[in-house]
Each structure stands twice: as structure tokens, then as C-alpha cells.
């Protein structure tokens, strides 16, 4: 057993700071700001320890740790994307313009400001070091966040989403150049930075309340609507494999797509009791499975090779059990894991 995903603690701040500082482009949801990170880690820890029966302001930070105890990746789930504020997106809609007089009917595409996603849970802020296991860590954290949600469904919203960075070209952001620039009269990186330092609600204050007509946008901006940046195409595929699909929403700043999934349509996993052996018997159905522990205040998940025995117990080896802080006869959440290897696989 190699990598463990676990809930982060304030002790992880230095490792996370380093990853935030390294992320290129900077992550909107992971500012390289020590005070804010400390705050976030403390709040994540407190939220896991508390009894929470519906989603609120909580955010849950996970890290991936190597066998050697090195933290090489982190990711976050916000229980509500909006939290106390609004999470604004552009929703793609179609208006119908029809004239009896001219006997024509046209479909006119628009982007209209939406707050809908405020009430959904947001999976965000995935960052890694350049450790050799970074790709595996990303895959693990993607699955581990879903396991966290399966473990505590009541803490999350019915809809989950991830936002992929939008399309860029030669250092420009065509969607921004065609849309946001008109309203903000600053450059993209400026506003992106402002958005990462706390509230994004200014976006809704500054953008006009009425919809944008696509026929009035320049071609570059229009083509960038809902298009993921080239280095996010793998993430797009990976999320689609997890059951996420393209939503009608795009990011208001860079036009990047939002992928959504219904919490209750994701694999729920099975609660089984752990059975710890020196080694998992070869053959007998041994396969990679994502196992999450159930201890309050210390969420752990890992992909381990295990099997389910004839008594319906989940059999794992001693190392795995130690990594997961699991004792024999303790319940664990077991989710099938498809271990296909991806190519390079950035953020989200």
C-alpha cells in the first residue's frame, strides 16, 4: 500500500502552501496565503469533528500522503459552493425569436447569469507537488472526495460539480477578452487573483444582470464557451468516467465548463466490517478497492487490494489497515475502483 488520502490538519499548512505557490495557473480556490490556509485547515478539521446534518459553510480539505509520510497532493470539497455568498455562473440558454409576420423562427443563444450553483457542492483546489506519484495522488483524491461524500451524504448537496479552467490561447483568455474585459477594465490575471482571495461575489455585482447575446460576441469568445483548457482535457475525461457530465453552466471569467453529477447517482459503496489479515489471499476475488474509514474527525481513504470474503467482510492486509487507522470488525466503506492509468492529469 502506498498512498493514503486523509483529512488535512493545520500541520499540513507548509506542504499545502508549497503546492499552492507552485500551481500554474494559480488556483482560484487555493490561494498561496498562509493565514487563509491556516484558517481553512482549522475550519476543515472542526467541521469533520462536528455533527453536521446538512450542508453549510463547511469546506473539507484532504491531502494525499506517501508511505514515507510526505504530503504530495491536496484537494477540497466545499459543502456549498455559495456558502454565505453567491456562486455566479453563466448558464447557456436558448431563446426563441419567432415572427408570424416574417414567417421565421430563430433560436438565439444567450448566456444568462445564474446563482443556481450556489446550492451545489463544489469539488475544487486539487494541487500536487512534482512527486513521481503525483498522478496517482490526483486520481486518489478525486475518488477520495467522492468517498467522503458517500461517507457523509447528509453533509453535501444533491448536486456536485467541478469547474474546469477555460480555454486559453497564447497567454490570452479569449472568453475574458470578449466578455469580462468590457466590465472590469482590468486584465484577467488581476481579476482571477481577486477572485481567489476570498469572495467571488463581486463578479455578480460587476457583471450586468441581463443576458449576453451570443451573436454579439466575437468568434473567439463564443468558441471558448464551455471549452476546457487544453491541459484540462484529461481531467474532463476523468470526471466523465466518474459519472460527471457537462452542465449548461460555464465560468463567468474564463468560460470554462462546469461538470455536474447527482450525489445520489454516484456509487454509494457498501458498509462492510474490516477483516485484517497478514496478507490478502491471492486469487479469491482480490482487486483494487477504495476503502474509507468511518472514524469521526479523521477521514481516511485509500486504494487497497482487498477482497470480500464469504462472510461479507472486507479483507485487507495489516499495512493497509494501519494506513486507514482501521481495526478488525470496524465498519469501512468499500467502493469499487477502476484503476486505469490516465495520462497527465492536472488540477480540479
Amino acid at each position: 500500500m502506498s498512498l493514503i488520502a486523509r483529512s488535512a490538519t493545520p500541520d499540513d499548512v507548509d506542504a499545502i502552501m508549497a503546492m499552492a505557490a507552485m500551481a500554474r495557473p494559480a488556483l482560484t480556490n487555493l490561494p498561496a496565503d498562509r493565514d487563509r490556509l491556516m484558517q481553512r485547515l482549522a475550519s476543515s478539521q472542526a467541521a469533520l469533528a462536528a455533527s453536521v446534518d446538512r450542508p453549510g459553510d463547511e469546506q473539507y480539505v484532504l491531502v494525499a500522503e506517501t508511505e514515507a509520510g510526505e504530503v504530495i497532493a491536496t484537494a477540497t470539497v466545499k459543502a456549498l459552493a455559495g456558502g454565505r455568498e453567491a456562486y455566479y455562473t453563466y448558464r447557456q440558454e436558448t431563446l426563441i425569436h419567432a415572427s408570424q409576420q416574417l414567417d421565421v423562427r430563430r433560436e438565439v443563444d444567450i448566456l444568462s447569469i445564474s446563482h443556481e450553483m450556489s446550492h451545489a457542492s463544489l469539488l475544487c483546489a486539487l494541487a500536487t507537488t512534482d512527486h513521481g506519484q503525483a498522478d496517482s495522488a490526483r486520481r486518489l483524491l478525486r475518488a477520495a472526495r467522492l468517498a467522503l461524500i458517500a461517507r457523509f451524504p447528509e453533509r453535501f448537496a444533491a448536486t456536485l460539480f467541478v469547474a474546469l479552467s477555460g480555454y486559453r490561447e497564447g497567454g490570452r483568455t479569449p472568453f475574458w477578452d470578449g466578455v469580462g474585459r468590457h466590465f472590469f477594465s482590468r486584465d484577467f490575471d488581476d481579476i482571477h487573483r481577486a477572485a481567489s482571495l476570498g469572495s467571488r461575489s463581486f463578479i455578480g455585482e460587476v457583471m450586468p444582470p441581463f443576458p449576453l447575446y451570443l451573436p454579439l460576441l466575437d468568434d473567439h469568445a463564443r468558441d471558448a464557451i464551455g471549452r476546457a483548457g487544453d491541459n484540462h482535457l484529461n481531467a474532463l475525461t476523468a470526471w466523465q468516467q466518474e459519472g460527471f457530465r457537462l452542465s449548461r453552466h460555464v465560468d463567468m471569467l474564463d468560460g470554462g465548463p462546469l461538470l455536474e453529477a447527482s450525489r445520489d447517482h454516484l456509487p454509494h459503496g457498501q458498509w462492510l466490517t474490516a477483516q485484517i489479515d497478514d496478507a490478502v489471499p491471492e486469487g479469491a476475488g482480490a482487486r483494487p478497492m477504495l476503502i474509507a474509514s468511518q472514524r469521526r474527525g479523521d477521514f481516511r481513504a485509500s486504494v487497497v487490494t482487498g477482497c470480500i470474503n464469504e462472510r461479507g467482510q472486507c479483507v485487507m492486509d495489516v499495512d493497509s489497515a494501519r494506513g486507514l487507522s482501521v481495526d478488525t470488525d470496524e465498519p469501512v466503506l468499500v467502493i469499487p475502483f477502476d484503476g486505469t492509468e490516465d495520462a497527465e492529469d492536472p488540477s480540479c
Binding site: 408570424q100 409576420q101 430563430r106 438565439v108 444567450i110 468590457h182 481579476i191 463581486f202 455585482e205 460587476v206
Partner: protein
Amino acid sequence: MLIRPIEEGDIDALQAIAVETGPGFTSLPDSRDFLIDKIAHARESFQRSHDTTDDAPEAALYFFVLEDDSQPLESAERLAGCCAIESRVGLEAPFYHYRIGQLAHSSSHLELHRTLDTLFLCSDHTGSAEVCSLYLRERWRGEAQRPMRNGTLLSRARWLFMAGFRERFPDRVLAEMRGRFDDDGNSPFWEALGQKFLPIEFQRADHLTGMGEKGFIGEMMPRHPICISFLPPGARACIGQVHTQTRPALAMLNRDGLRFEGYIDIFDGGPTVEAYIDDVRSIRDSRTARVSVQEALSNDERPGWLAATTGAAVDFRAGWVGRGPQDDVIALTPEEAQRLKVDNGDTLRLLAT
């Protein structure tokens, strides 16, 4: 030269004008039925009696012709031009403009405070009066004809009509000016906006609007506001700007106090100019005087005094007179009096111009 209400018998001459103006002059399409209806509507408007206590005057069309009384009677060549006043636009068919408005948007978080110029599709002028349909035929234009000041007569006579029949009009008046076109005769504003939403050519859109068939605008044009900065520079440069040929007309209206207040044509972006009727200089400065017909009067060097009758609307006449009033009396030659169909003791409304 005299201005008078159009009559049924003017139909041939009017149709000749419609042919001459071509499709660009949308209020006079070459359609005999349409023109017959127009004349009938105008006759009914002039003949209508008016209760001066009405709060809101009815919609009426006051359509005038410029008659060259030096031409033989019954000649189609007597009609030198035309002009009109719609007393209340937008009551029978929607009357659309884009209004340029400013939206504040600010964020304390970003220390940003700006306003955003925006086009709103609106019908704010519903119920206003409009001066329109001014056309002077080729033969009465040009350098040689300039001393006749026919264009001024056509344009300003309307103000004297409005001054004399003030109760037939609302508070405000507007005029729509043709917008800017490029050297190939295309409107960059149309290409950037109207064309994106309408499956028809500019000319057809303009024509339908001229015929009062404007339903398609509300159906097909964007009903949400549009940020001006999203339009390409060429289209932005058209906003509120007039066609080269329209500049003299605009200048004349500006001198009368009509101003651009941020309303533009939805197709070509040309400006609407407007004023409170009581503020229009030609109306404010006009005065009345009693007629005294005299032989052997001298004329001013150039036509400087406009005179209009003050009797029944249907008998309205306006034209140049050779001199101004003295002590509330205006001396007319017998020829001038006959042209205006006035006699000693009648009252004329006069404007120095």
C-alpha cells in the same frame, strides 16, 4: 411657392414623388393604395374639429405639399415637395428606439466604480409628435434655387402650423435622422446588430417600418439590453451620427432647439432629436399680425419672413412674404394675399428666419 394641406387631387403628383424618392424614403412607398389611404387620413385629420380641453390629442397625420404656383394649374409639376407631422406616434403601432442608458456597476472589493453604456429597446416616445416625410424635388433644389429657400419653407412651415394649432399636439416633438452609412451604402450599425437577429435586408426592414408594420421588431430583435462596448468600433461610431446628406436638416432642427437626448434608430443608429414643443424656437418666436393688403410694396432682398394662416386647419397656407410686420400689421401685396387666401384684417402668424 406655398405650403398647403394635401388634397385628394394630389394623388398623381404624390405618386410621382414616391417613384422619385425611391425605396430609401420609407414613408412614401410607391403604392397607390397606400398613398390614397395616406391622403384620406391626412384630409380627415385636417378636417377634424378639436376640443381644446382634451388632455390627450388624438393621433392625426398632417401632410402638406409645397405647391409652385408659378406653374400652370392642373400640372403635376405644380407639386415641388412635401412634409408632414404625425401628431402622436406609437399609438397604433409600436414605436421603437434604442435608448442609450448608463448602468452603474461597482465593487468595493475591487475598488471599481464605472458606468456602462447600454442600449435599451424602448418605446419612450409613444404619444409624442413627429416631424417627418420632408422631400423637395430635384428641380426645386440646388444652387440656382437656393435664394427661394424652399427647404426652409418646407421645414419651418410645420412649426407655424403647430404654433397655430397647439391644442392638436402633445408636449414633445421629435424628428428621426437617417444614420451613417459607409461608402458602399451599408450601415455598420445594422451589420453589427440588426443583421444578427433579422433574416431580412436592411432595406426590407426599413421599408416594413415605414409601412407601420413593426411587429417583427418586438418579435425578433433582442429585448434585453445590449452593452455598447460589445459592438465593433465601426458600429459604435454610428451611434447618434447622421448621414452626410442629413447634416443640413439636422443643423436646421438644432437651431430650432431640437436636441439629441440619447435615442437612436434601431436599424441604422441615427439620432432622434427632440424638444418640448413650446421650446421650439420657431414656435416660441413666432408672432401674429393683422393683414393689410397694399399695392406697390418693396420686398426684402431675400425671403426672411415666413407667414402662415390662422383660420381653419384645412385651409392652412404658408409661404414667404416680402417684409416683416410693423406695429402688429403685416403689409401684403395682392399677390401674396391671394397666395395665402387672406384679406384685410385677417390674422397671420409670422416668423423671421
